[in-house]
Amino acid sequence: MSELSPPVLRLSHISKRFGALLANDDISLTLQRGEVLALLGENGAGKSTLVNILFGHYTADAGSVEVDGVALPPGNPRAALAAGVGMVHQHFTLADNLSVLDNIVIGTAPLWHLRQRRRAALARIHDLAGRFGLAVDPHARVGALSVGERQRVEIIKALYRGARVLILDEPTAVLTPQEVESLFGTLRQLIAEGLAVIFISHKLDEVLRVSHRVAVLRGGRLVATLPAAATSKPELAELMVGRRVEMPARTGTTATGQVVAALDRASVAATAGRGGLHEISLDLHAGEIVGIAGVSGNGQVALAEVMSGLAAPSAGRVTLHGAALPAQPRRWIGAGVARIPEDRHAEGAVGDLAVWENAIAEQLGNPAFVRAGVIRRAPARHFAHDLVRRFDVRGGGIDTPTRTLSGGNMQKLILGRALSVTGADACARPRLVVASQPTWGLDIGAVAYVHRQLLEAAAAGAAVLLISEDLDELMALSDRIAVMHAGRLTPARATASWTLGTLGLAMAGAGTDEGEVSHAA
Amino acid sequence: QSKIKVAAVYTVPVEQQWVSRIHKALNEAKARGEIDYVFSESVSNADYERVLRQYAEQGSGLIVGESFAVEGAARKVARDYPKTAFLMGSSGKPQAPNFSVFDNYIQEPSYLTGMIAGGMTKTNHIGMVGGYAIPEVNRLMHAFMEGAREVNPRVRFTVSFIGSWFDPPKAKEAAFAMVDKGADILYAERFGVSDAARERGKLAIGNVINTQPQYPATVVASALWNMEPTIAAALAKVKAGQFRNEDYGQYSLMKYKGAELAPLGTFEGKVPADLMTKVRAREKAILDGKFAVKVVETEPKSTP
């Protein structure tokens, strides 16, 4: 990579305003052939906005984008594609009901052509898959693919058009460690062939591993551009957040209390799109955090559903303080179970409701907020104000539609709501916290915040079930860890007895055979 | 002398057979310079009362309309404007002091067309397509069937209703289905039926209006409704200041030329002479008051 060669991509003085908010403020960047540029920043710093402008999804208010010295017309993805820019969006943009092939070839032939050259397309996809290690069945329906496979389809989509600049917006946020590895393998392959890559991620380790240069955004401004080799995690974190970030960690072993919740050979049938559970047994004690590791799709969703009161086990027992509860979320909430769902947009909050309405959504039976079916607005709004303050939910006030909150702030709202339910049966604090992937897509500051809340909940005597694919997170927070594979669960063992290696092996299926599970308790 | 201000309020468009007859009679009176004529068509049930009131307020001397589904409202308005003459198509009774009624009492020529149909059918099968089974339709159908039976006791009838006043394609389908079942003469209560008959080379009998000009080789005979006598009678009363609550129904009878068997026209000579003799005899008997066509208003059914 020569400093003198002209850049493939040049962003000059990009500014973009959303109403009152300046999402991008005079940002200028360049990208060289064969270079990986990491884009860092807190949630809402303006990363996605910038790359969306670059690709033509958004139209910048000012500034220009040049590819190979030629300016792109603004707001025109077709032009960007034609100039060799490929983009993998933060949220996948694939049509679930169409085949992989259809998703890839769409837009590559003029619309008025009467035939699709499917055979040639298949050959090309096959070739790309082989060259870059992106195995995927072109005839599969996208809706039936795993997250990792979809990611591969997205990358093939870009490569199929001969992209020379590839933008990856948080590609690793929902990938398993194995999938991340294979993605990085592909990336290395790509830059070897001369592609230039913009890579957005909140995971600083990854950033330092794959990128050549790092650009940090804060509040829409470019605050620094540094060579990856000359920086460190703490430095980057501080640049992003503007202050030092302390990652909280477990403070030694907590004395565990009585059993709060217990699964006894609980099974759940698999349904389309989610794996089942097979005779799972697990005890959760007051004051401890139990981590569940596993590659997604191995039954974590079913486990979270059972522990959130959304589904009943088809066999076996699930008890809370020794008693079984019906699968009604209301009853579980009332019994002091704080639930943090995996998908905050789909399950965690109703985007169209105001923040204060979402804040009390789990307590519509609570006489403090509701009398005779009528909402007592004053106490309810007071509660929401308090929640927003205590959990540092930023972005508008309590009357703004929840959908406009960034992911991190929405997560804080959900966390705050779950942890502040004062149950009907007079439990002032949650007794059980069920957290599924609580830090997906969050920036480092928000992650630290969520971790601190979970630790505090445990310290206050709650049992915490932490379902996560982030092994670092599990190792940092959990007292005990169990691994899920194919709907079965290993016994939960003290965190110290696991290593990243043994965890990985267990996640791949070793050690969860019938014999060991059956006497787990 | 000053013209009488006449307003008409119709619930359907003026092409609709029934209303077209009233519209025609009033237009003729207007052409003769007897009246000032204004009208509203397709007036919905919800608007009917208001439109009546507005015409009454504007000083109409005579208001003509069809109050079948808006009986209550129309009578209320009439009570509120006792100086205005109301002449309403209605199945009900006149109402003092100023609400008169009329109806399409053309069962007599219907009977006669029935005779012609009964005599002309070769398959002894007649098809009848109606919009809705309402009295105005039913009594004509019954008279027609009676007439056909008189000359041809073996004749069979297939009756169906299409549940719409304005769906000629559907009426046509119903008629086609009847032809497929063997009917060779169709009683055309709706637009579309004669069309089906023409396409299949069958015959049709017209009703209320004369559609023979459109279907010269198809429409054998029609039972015509002439509103002119009714309108003339009412106008005369209004002019004389003697309009009261009366039943003008009789003016739709053949005796008053309110109804007639349309001229055979293109079918002159094609209807067997002996049959026409019988028909003419019956016609005379009716005019002489020696024969009364029975009025039956129940829903007609296909013969088993």
């Binding site: 603004p74 025109n76 985007g351 909402i375 | 919800a46 608007d47 208001r50 409202a73």
Partner: protein
């Protein structure tokens, strides 16, 4: 061309948009009026006068608005919960039929079982029956949607036809008024059950008060109650609502019942307030117009009242105008349709601005 959300909506825009929409409507329809050779200025003056210009005009407009408020509310409630009820027309007719079944005369007097009841009780029973009938009719598509995923747009639409044919069969059969000379209409209501007139020599009846009260009630439900919150939540994101412990199925069914009941009540009110008996042509599409009204109102219950009066005024005024200047009376429907579309566009432009990108290409 693309849309960009506005951050602040100015008050002038909020007031100006509907006015601009009305202006555009009048401009477009002026062409049609002129095409008929009528004087445009006078036509519009007459329209205004006929809809809002006199006591009589107001009484007619309000009479016409009464059922529209109720069907508009019915649609607003259902649409809020993302239950696309296009079947208010059918619910209205079934409600009317039920009202007649309960409050209809038998041999010129109240039915034997009802004769001994106090009028108030019988009235209550009649209203309840109508609302229940409407509610049950919408519950069918709602249950089909919840349990089997059957699209409710289509089922409610089809049910309109079925109900109308069913009513037709009833009016031809068991519920036919034997005194109606064979004409398919129901028996009349017991006279005591008819709604009181609000103004002398006019048709405005107490049904208007019922409609207004219900608009206020629905507004209060939406704004103050748990049920209102749950309806919005279930409509916006059923999964998240269920996760938070809301009984989504029950809420949807209750909303459906409320919506159907409101439309059913529209039928009751028309029979008891305006016609006195049921015929097949009683409603000039109140149910479908209800959709228009609810959307003009942005699904807001109080807005429903305003837009119902507005639409009713146009219908009434334009109808009279068409007669006075001699243009075809379908001009009323044209004006309402154009007004609806321009109002939709105008209100959208208060929330969004249209930007033409520098590329200039209209995508």
């Amino acid at each position: 061309m693309r849309l960009e959300a506005r951050t602040a909506v100015s008050r002038t825009a909020l007031v100006g948009a509907p006015l601009a929409a009305i202006a555009v409507t009048l401009l477009i329809c002026a062409a049609l009026v002129a095409a008929a050779g009528a004087p445009v200025g006078r036509a519009y003056l007459l329209l205004l006068e006929g809809g809002f210009g006199s006591r009589f005009a107001w009484s007619e407009t309000l009479t016409r608005a009464t059922p529209l408020i109720l069907t508009g509310l019915a649609v607003a409630v259902a649409f809020r919960t993302r239950l696309f009820n296009i079947g208010a027309e059918g619910q209205l007719y079934l409600g009317a039929l039920a009202a007649v079944a309960v409050g209809g005369q038998v041999d010129g007097a109240a039915a034997p079982w009802a004769a001994s009841l106090p009028t108030g009780v019988l009235f209550g029973a009649m209203v309840a029956a109508g609302m229940l009938a409407g509610a049950l009719l919408l519950l069918l598509p709602a249950v089909l949607k919840l349990r089997l995923g059957v699209d409710e747009v289509v089922t409610t639409l089809l049910l309109n036809f079925i109900v109308l044919l069913g009513v037709s069969a009833m009016l031809d059969g068991p519920m036919k008024d034997p005194l109606a000379m064979g004409w398919p209409q129901s028996v009349g209501l017991v006279p005591e059950l008819e709604l009181a007139r609000l103004m002398e020599r006019s048709r405005v009846h107490a049904g208007l008060l019922m409609a207004l009260a219900l608009a206020a009630l629905v507004w209060a439900i939406n704004r103050f109650t748990v049920f209102g919150l749950q309806m919005r939540a279930a409509g916006a994101n059923a999964r998240a609502a269920a996760f938070a412990g809301m009984p989504v199925g029950r809420v949807t069914l209750l909303a459906a019942a409320l919506s159907g009941a409101l439309a059913g009540l529209a039928g009751v009110v028309e029979v008891a307030g305006r016609t006195g008996y049921l015929t097949l042509d009683m409603s000039p599409g109140y149910g479908y117009t209800g959709v228009v009204i609810a959307m003009l109102a942005g699904l807001h219950p109080l807005g429903v009242v305003a837009s119902a009066v507005f639409v009713a005024g146009i219908l009434v005024g334009a109808d009279g105008m068409s007669r006075a200047v001699g243009v075809p009376n379908t001009i009323a429907d044209v004006i309402v349709a154009v007004a609806l579309l321009s109002m939709l566009v105008a209100t959208m432009l208060t929330r969004y601005r249209i930007r033409f990108d520098r590329a200039g290409r209209v995508a």
